[in-house]
Symmetry: C2
Subunit: 334 residues, 2 copies
Amino acid sequence: MRILVDAMGGDNAPFAIVEGAIAARKQIEHEIILIGREDVVLPAMKKHKAKDIEFVDATEVITNDEAPVKAVRSKKDSSIVKGLNMLKNGEADVFLSAGSTGALLAGGLFILGRVQGIDRPSLAAIYPVIGSSPSLLIDAGANTECKPNNLLEFATMGSIYMEKVMGLENPRVGLLNNGAEENKGTTLTKAAHELLAKSSLNFVGNVEARYLQDGVCDVIVSDGFTGNAVLKVTEGMGLMILRELKRRFTKNGMTKMGALFLSKELKNIKVELDYTEYGGAPILGVKGALLKMHGSADEVAVEKTILKAIPYVENSVVETIQNSTIELEEILQS
Amino acid sequence: MRILVDAMGGDNAPFAIVEGAIAARKQIEHEIILIGREDVVLPAMKKHKAKDIEFVDATEVITNDEAPVKAVRSKKDSSIVKGLNMLKNGEADVFLSAGSTGALLAGGLFILGRVQGIDRPSLAAIYPVIGSSPSLLIDAGANTECKPNNLLEFATMGSIYMEKVMGLENPRVGLLNNGAEENKGTTLTKAAHELLAKSSLNFVGNVEARYLQDGVCDVIVSDGFTGNAVLKVTEGMGLMILRELKRRFTKNGMTKMGALFLSKELKNIKVELDYTEYGGAPILGVKGALLKMHGSADEVAVEKTILKAIPYVENSVVETIQNSTIELEEILQS
């Protein structure tokens, strides 16, 4: 397997990417290829004594500030565009990037193309659940306005990802809604509820945002606008609480002493609340294995995402999504 | 001023309501009237030795499980319907209830009626911000599907509430969106952004859910579906983190010792994260001063909400909203 990693994307590039790649490479026999600007990436690889890691030069960089569609069209030799082309041409089996989400989505659509039968490819995100294994939130912001069939697609693709990559049997699919009763919600969620109930998914019904932290489902289905808001407020709160704990616990000698007694527990809480500890999230519904890493991913997150890329490819997520579209069509026509 | 309080609503009724009313009464000279079933409320008042508190009998109760519209139409002698009628008839100046939100909204519309020029009355909610004063989130769930003019109304009413009741000068109004740039978002948020920019409000632009905890604005404007999700996930996370801290800090002798050193700080964190500590939230845009208390409000929350009812009435929130509709109309026609 050839795992291609964008060495230019994210707040901590190139060093966190290079370090994460090195850490992952030590654990696996698959090829890892870094792509990026020679003058930036090679020195970082040299500094960290990268071994058994390949490099591909890409002279341009797409930043988060650029208009995604325009950037993808004009910067043909950027790490993102060149990387996606390598994925398309079979020069890589999976592509990982912490770069511009917009450019990855636009590039995914233009270069890889949609899986036939999928109307809207989607950005999924790992949704942290305190004291429990994370859920998958889909859509996390790629599709701000959705139709009911899009939510059915998200549910199906998310369920496949959680089964094939995260190893969950029969993942529980919940529809994010403002009440548990099936007649609750907007025109969109009511219609999506009907479609989901007809599917062969393990649909557990509506889930309220209030209970997401109780781990009531493995796949949280939402339009991208609400999904983005819920994900971001969760991340923002986690970081804010960490800051607040730190501020309060370092106030004086007594609080510092208390924190010392609790240091192990505090460290574990940090891991639970700090979303950057989680690995990447897939862009599902495009013809290729594409993983988006968090913009603030550190070397541990990069390492974890690279390791997750393996079951993504080996367990044929993209092909399984392709096969699922037959059922999707049947549901929509029933 | 006559402050009417529903003694039947919420998880902790009637005792938390009675205790909260007693605590508030000691601090103010205004009349407090409890409304509810005689056989339930009078014993509670007797038990807590309620003094200088009036009582009005209402023989029926509307529960959270009932269909709101049907309940409001059929249960004329419920504390909610009778209370709203007393508010309408001037027998009370403000009405507070921790009962069914749906019934309060439906009853508010049917019995009090909309302020002329307001298309959609709205449920606002206090949005807790860790380490800072709370914001107001509007709409918090009353209007799942909105038009751009509704968001302008919410912004205006929320701004008036924060100024008149919370004492903020020129409250900062932010539009909840999936990006800071003004061209970001859905058809709805883009159009709402244009309207807000034309208004005389202190509009600070789009705010991302990620930054709500940084207290970037005083009034968070949203459609009710997204607003509800953001509020509920914030509340759910707060409670979950409190549970997790408690679980981890009571593990063994050493962690308990640490927690002892930190007891004051932990108590303060609890206050910040526990949304039930906050007072009630207004239902704005109806012809009457109506405050919804949280379903799990305890006696402290009841007390706080009663105290907040005073500036609500004294500073003429309802009349100010009525006066604001002239500008709203001008903006929509421009």
